[in-house]
Symmetry: C2
Subunit: 199 residues, 2 copies
C-alpha cells in the first residue's frame, strides 16, 4: 500500500511538472544614463532605476519631455517633446530580436556610436552602443531573451561621462551648463549653480 | 492718380504673394485593395475610398481587425487584431521619405513583392510593391512629397486580382472562400454564397 502511494505521488509530481509552462526569458535593454548636470537639474528624476519595466512588443517606447506622450520622461526644457523612439522587431531570416531607434527631434541630431541620425532617420541598434544627443549620453546594451510578446527596459545612472571609456569624441556645441563633462569630472570642478528658470 | 493707384495695387499684390507660405506637398501612399470575396463579405467596408487621409509622422498606421486599435479596419475574423503597421521615416543620408512595414500577425506571413515577413519582421517599402497576406492583395505606390510633419494615405478598390499583372505566384493555401481569385475572374465564376457565420 505504501509503495502504491509513493508511486502515485511520483506520478502526480511528474505530471504537474510537465504542465508548468517553460519559463520564457524576456529581451531587456539595459540603459545607463549620463548628463553632466544631473546632480543640479535632476533631468532623470522621473525614471525608475534598477527596475525592469515590461512593455508589449507593439508599443513604441517614447523618450522625451512631454509626459503625456512619453513613457520615459526627461525633465529638461532643452529636450524635444518626443526626442526619440525605440521599437522592438525581429531580424529578417533570423530569430534575433532587436531594437530600432528613430530620431524624432527636428532640432537635435541623435548619434548612435558614430552614425548621425537627423529628424525621422532610423537605425537598428547594435547589441551594445552609445547614444548621444545634446549633453545626453546613453549606453544601451541588449540582454537577449526569447519572448516575442514583451520586452523590458532597465535604467542605471552613470556617475561619470561614458565617452572616455569608449574613446568617442565629445559633442559640440558646449554643454548646457557651460562646463564640459570631462572638465567636471577630471578636474573636480563642480557645475555652476543653476537658476530656477533653467529648470 | 490712376498710375499711382495701379503701382500701389501691384505693390500690395506682390507683397501679399511673398507673405504666403510655400505650399508644401505631402507624401501620399496610394493603396489599391483586392480580396476575392469583397463583394460578398465587404471586408473593406469601413475604409474611405478616393479620399486622402492625413496622419502625423509620429503615428503608427495600424491595419487589422480591432477597430479600437487600428486606423484602418478590415472586417474579417480571419484578420489578426493588428495585421501590420506602416511607419513614416526619412532615409539615412538622403532627403527621401518612405514607409516601413512590419508584420504584427503571429499566424499569417506578410509578403512584400517576394520577401516573406514573419511576425515582427520589418522592411522598407519599395516605391511600388504588392503586399499579400491570406487572400488579401494590396498594391502600394508612393507619391513623393516634401512634408516632414504629415503623410497621407488614399485607398482604391481593385475589381480583379492584382497578381496577373505583376506575374506574381498565387499564394498557398487555398483562399478563404474556397475559390482561387484567378478562377473567379478568368472563368467568370462567382464566389459561392457565404454563411453568416463566416462573416
Amino acid at each position: 500500500m505504501d509503495l502504491y502511494k509513493t508511486i502515485l505521488r511520483r506520478i502526480i509530481i511528474m505530471s504537474s511538472m510537465e504542465e508548468v509552462e517553460t519559463e520564457e526569458t524576456v529581451t531587456c535593454l539595459h540603459i545607463t544614463l549620463y548628463h553632466p548636470c544631473q546632480e543640479e537639474k535632476q533631468v532623470f528624476r522621473s525614471l525608475k532605476f534598477h527596475k525592469r519595466e515590461r512593455r508589449r512588443v507593439d508599443e513604441v517606447a517614447k523618450f522625451g519631455r512631454d509626459s503625456n506622450i512619453c513613457h520615459y520622461n526627461l525633465m529638461d526644457t532643452r529636450v524635444s517633446r518626443v526626442q526619440f523612439t525605440l521599437q522592438f522587431f525581429r531580424q529578417l531570416n533570423s530569430s534575433e530580436l532587436g531594437f530600432e531607434i528613430k530620431n524624432m527631434s527636428k532640432k537635435t541630431k541623435l548619434i548612435v556610436d558614430n552614425v548621425e541620425l537627423d529628424y525621422l532617420n532610423k537605425i537598428d541598434l547594435p547589441w551594445k552602443c552609445i547614444i548621444r544627443f545634446g549633453d545626453y549620453q546613453l549606453l544601451m546594451q541588449r540582454q537577449d531573451g526569447e519572448s516575442v510578446d514583451y520586452f523590458e527596459t532597465c535604467f542605471e545612472l552613470a556617475q561619470a561621462s561614458l565617452l572616455q571609456e569608449r574613446h568617442l569624441p565629445l559633442l559640440q556645441p558646449i554643454p548646457e551648463c557651460g562646463i564640459s563633462p570631462s572638465l567636471v569630472y577630471s578636474q573636480g570642478v563642480r557645475p555652476i549653480e543653476m537658476d530656477e528658470n533653467d529648470l
